[in-house]
Assembly symmetry: C2
Homo-oligomer: 223 residues x 2
DNA sequence: AAATTCAGTGAACGTGCGTACACTCAAATA
DNA sequence: TATTTGAGTGTACGCACGTTCACTGAATTT
């Protein structure tokens, strides 16, 4: 249990245990949800005694927040990498669909954690996730604002499209997470669905409100 | 604790207690989530002794399923009532936004329960909710298919729009549920958002794929 | 080489849990 | 009126939990 590799420094050993705790919590929360796993379960799974847990986190809640942080840093890294790809600029919709499915597949556990605890977790964890998602909407808005179709929209409108995109991302991530492992066919189906939805948003937005960039965006209440 | 009203029949008394248990579970799960409340907590809140719980439900899981059923029957009743309103046919989008916000406000607890346990609950409860939502998508598709704009779309396309509508409904319901109590301004904002999103879906769909009713719906992959 | 630090140990505690079992006593039935 | 039924009671059990505390012993510092 966490073999004390002799060549490792004490600090590195501690970090290894910390990661073991995080990994254990992530894995256990996949089957039962983070809110219902216990400090003792996590410790057992990580190969330490319950009391040793406190050397790394002061409570399960703090561990939860650490997992939120870890999950979003994973997501952010992926988005950053994707932006370097020049193809993305040309066709953000298809690229986003690809990135989404790939990212979620690679870090299924993290996405599942966020999807679940976003609504099901403790108040504190829920707020933390909400905050991260809000940040993410704003970041995505900056990226979107530079795109050909969108460049002359009002910033309010871009923000709203961004919100819809992120909402869709979350929904689709949920679907990928719940996807059985072998089914690559379903995967393509989800990607296609995500693409369609993003197109709907962009096209519907443009056509419904063609001069979004100028006066009174989005208020011609035509009922 | 569940005053034994003398005039009541034994059967009615039992039903009263059953409802008390359901209500207690619903209330308790609002703050902590259904999965993390205990049989003893529920019993205490309902005013009975833990062992009496078993006279009504064989386990907490069965109680959870009963709550799913109750929640969706509430939702279904509201949709049925709304369909009787002739205004709905003329402008389903605005009507749906109104119904959504009103319904969620009236049965906040039930919607909150569904929103949470849809992703955060136990496997069995989650599956039950998923099933109910799938049913609901199909039911909505039947309603949508009769509408002016949509009547000549292919049934696959109607099904997809229905799925997007329900997905949006769930998202917006989450927002209403998380809305602080006094804020009627936010409420109007959420309604407006819901309306916009539904318009986006309908308009985007029509414009992107105008002859959806006929051949090869939704496949002119124009990337 | 001696002193200090500190990640991990192991026993012990009080608490709330699910469930078993034998019970009561009013309503329903015969 | 006598008998049966069954919703709700009360005790008692074993178990997992979070947290406490004094501890060990290797890595680090002096």
């Amino acid at each position: 249990m966490i073999e004390p590799v002799p060549s490792e420094t004490r600090q590195a050993q501690k970090e290894r245990t910390r990661q073991a705790i995080l990994a254990a919590a992530l894995e256990l929360s996949q089957t039962q949800g983070f809110a219902q796993i216990s400090l003792r379960q996590v410790s057992r799974h990580a190969g330490i005694v319950p009391t040793a847990f406190y050397r790394h986190f002061e409570s399960m809640e703090q561990l939860g927040l650490a997992l939120v942080e870890q999950s979003f840093s994973t997501l952010r890294r992926m988005i950053r990498d994707a932006q370097r790809d020049p193809e993305v600029f040309d066709n953000i919709i298809d690229a986003a669909a690809d990135v989404l499915v790939e990212a979620v597949k690679q870090s299924k556990a993290h996405f599942a954690f966020v999807a679940r605890e976003r609504v099901g977790g403790s108040e504190v964890v829920r707020q933390a996730i909400k905050h991260e998602l809000d940040l993410f909407v704003s970041e995505l808005a900056v990226v979107l604002a530079r795109l050909p179709h969108i460049e002359n929209w009002s910033s309010d409108d871009v923000q709203m499209v961004s919100r819809l995109f992120v909402r869709n991302m979350v929904s689709n991530a949920e679907e990928v997470v719940e996807m059985p492992d072998g089914r690559t066919d379903l995967e393509e189906q989800i990607k296609e669905g995500a693409r369609r939805q993003m197109r709907l948003i962009v096209i519907g937005f443009r056509d419904w409100n063609p001069d979004a960039a100028r006066s009174s965006p989005l208020t011609p209440d035509t009922r």
